[in-house]
Symmetry: C2
Subunit: 338 residues, 2 copies
Amino acid sequence: MPATLKDIAKEVGKSITTVSRALHGYDDVSPETIALVRRVADEMGYTPNIMAQRLQKQRTDTIGFILPTFGPRFSDPFFSEFLAGIGNRAAKLGYDLLVSTRPPGEEELSTYRRKVQSHLVDGFVIVRTRRHDPRIEYLCQADFPFVAFGRTENNCDFPYVDEDGEHGMRLMAHHLADLGHKDIAFIAAPDELMFAHYRSKGFKEGLEERGVHLDEKLIVTGDLTQRDGFRQATSLLELTNPPTAIAACNDLMAMGAISAAQKRGLIVGKDIAITGFDNIPLAEHSHPPLTTIHQPIYQIGDMVCEILIRRIKGESVETDHALLEPTLVIRETCGGNQ
Amino acid sequence: MPATLKDIAKEVGKSITTVSRALHGYDDVSPETIALVRRVADEMGYTPNIMAQRLQKQRTDTIGFILPTFGPRFSDPFFSEFLAGIGNRAAKLGYDLLVSTRPPGEEELSTYRRKVQSHLVDGFVIVRTRRHDPRIEYLCQADFPFVAFGRTENNCDFPYVDEDGEHGMRLMAHHLADLGHKDIAFIAAPDELMFAHYRSKGFKEGLEERGVHLDEKLIVTGDLTQRDGFRQATSLLELTNPPTAIAACNDLMAMGAISAAQKRGLIVGKDIAITGFDNIPLAEHSHPPLTTIHQPIYQIGDMVCEILIRRIKGESVETDHALLEPTLVIRETCGGNQ
DNA sequence: ATTCTATTCCAAAACGTTTTGGGAGTCAAT
DNA sequence: ATTGACTCCCAAAACGTTTTGGAATAGAAT
C-alpha cells in the first residue's frame, strides 16, 4: 500500500536507481531531478521500508538490552532510570532499542545467541554483571559488540562503565565507624553479582581500616528487594545483641530495613543507623531521608550507550574502561543532623 | 559470514527452495531430505536472517512501546512492572519488543508516525492515555493495530484494558468517610491524564455519597512523583486548618506525603490518615504500610500484549474493552489496626 | 575528426528469505 | 498405451532497498 521507490520512479519517469540516489542527494543526479523526485516523494508520502534497507545494508541500527528479571513483581527503580538513559541516547544517535526480559539462566543465554545470529541487533548493553558471566564470555568469543555496566572476573577484555562500589562502600564503612558504631551489621547481596561483591569487599575493608570488627553473624544476604531488606533486618534486630547500625547493599533493602526498625519502635537516626547504596529518587524522600552513596544511573546508561554505538560504527573510543567515583550522601538515617 | 540457505543448498546438492521447505517441514519434501538438510543446517550453525524473513513476510513480529518520560530522573515502579508484563508475554508469543523513550509532545507523535510508516513494528502498546490523546487519534485514523492501557475521550472505538479508577477511588473515599474524617485533602494529578481524571471523579463522588464536603482549597495537584507528593502534602499541612486525611492519586505521592507528615512530627495512622493508589511493591513495606488500591499492573501488561498480538494476527478477540475491578487494600496508614 | 571530460542517467546484481506454479518420475489402474 | 495419482523437487518471482559498473550525450580541447 505505501509508496515505494518503484512507484516514485514510475511517476517521475526515471529509474529506481536515480530516485534512490536523488533522495540521498548524490551529486551524479541533476539538481532539477533531485527537486522533482523529492517533491513527488513527499506528495506520495514516501517512507523507506526499513526492513529492505536493513537487509541491504546488513545492519539494523538497533541495540539490544535484555533485562534480567526475577518473577512478576518486578520493580526496580534502577532499571527504569537506566533504560531512560540508554533509550534517550540511542534515539539521539538514530538507534532503536530492542528490549527483552529474561530471568538469568540457560534461556537468557540462548536469547542472546539467537539475537546475535539472526542479525537482530548491532550490539548489546549488558547490566548486572556476574563474577563469572556467561553472557560476556559468549559475546567476547563471538566477537560481537557490547558494552557492560559492571566488570567481571572472566578472563577477557571488554569495554565497560562501572561505579567504584568498593570505594563507595569503604566510604560508608568509615562514616559509620567514625560515628562510633561498633556493632555493625551488613545486608549483603548474592556475591555472584559483581557489584555486590565489590560493595561487600569495600565495606569489610573499610571497617578493618578503622579497626572495627565485623562479626560474621551480623552479615546476612538479601535479594535486593525491599521486602527482603525488611525480613533480613527483622532477623538482625531480633538477635540478643542487635547491631547499632545496619548497612544495606542497596537502597531498596535499606528502605525495608528502615520499616523493620520502625516497626520495632526504634527511631532511625537515633536508636539505630541505617544506610543504603544507589541514591534512588525514593531515598531522598523516605522518612527519615536515607544516607546513601550516589550513583548517576541515568548518566551511566547514557555513557554505556554512547560507547556502544561508537564501537558499532567503528569509531575510536577514548575511554572504554570507565570507573566512576561514587559520593557519600549524608542525610538523616545515621543521626547527627536532626 | 554466517551460513545462508544458499550455502546449505550447495552443500546438500539441492535447490534453495527445497532447503527452505525442508527446514519448515513441508510434506512435499522426502523425510530423508528433511533429515539431511536439518543435519547439515545444524552443522553449519544456520540461523535464518531475520531481516530477509521480515522483508519477505511483510511483518516484523515486533511490537512497539513508547515510554512517556519526563526528565532524566525518571523512575516510576509502574513502568518496570508493566514492561515486564508485556515483555514476558511478547516473548512467549515469539514477538520482540521495541522500546523508545519520548517526552509527550510533537516529537512523540512523529516517532509513532515514523515507526508506523517504515514498518518497524506490527502494533503498539499505548500507556498513560490522555483525555484528548493525539497518539490514539493518529493510530485510529491510520488503522494501525494498537491496544491501550487506559481509556480516552477521543471519539473513536479502540481496544483497551483499564482499571476502574473511578470505582477504586470511590471505595477509598467511602473508607475515609466511614472512619469519620471530615477534613479530607486530595492530591490529584493533572486532569489531562485519563486515569487521574477518573480517580479524581471517583473520589469526589464517593465523598459526596457519604455527605462529606470536599473543600476546594484542600484539592491540590502533583506530578505523580514522591518529591511532589512531599511538597504538596507539606503545603496542605501548613494550612491553618490542616486536613485529618490526605488521599493521593498514586502511591508514590502518598509516600511523599507520609514523609512530609512524619517530618512535622505527626504519627501517620493516628494523627493523620494517608492513602495511595496502585499498590506498588514499595507500598507494602513503607512505614507504616500504606493503605491503597490494588491494581494488577503486571497482569494488565500481560493482557494488553496478548490482545494486541491476537489483533495483529487477525485472530478474534473476545473482550477488547476490559475494565478491571480494583480492590481496597487496608494497611496501617489510616489507623485502626496498630 | 578525434579524444577527453563532465554530466546525467540506468540495468542489473545483491542482500536472504518464502511462495508460486509447475516439472519429472514412478506406479497402479484402466 | 493411456490416464491419474502421488512423490519429490526446483526455477523464478517477489519483498524494497543500495551499489556497482558502466552508457549516453554534450561540449571542449586537440
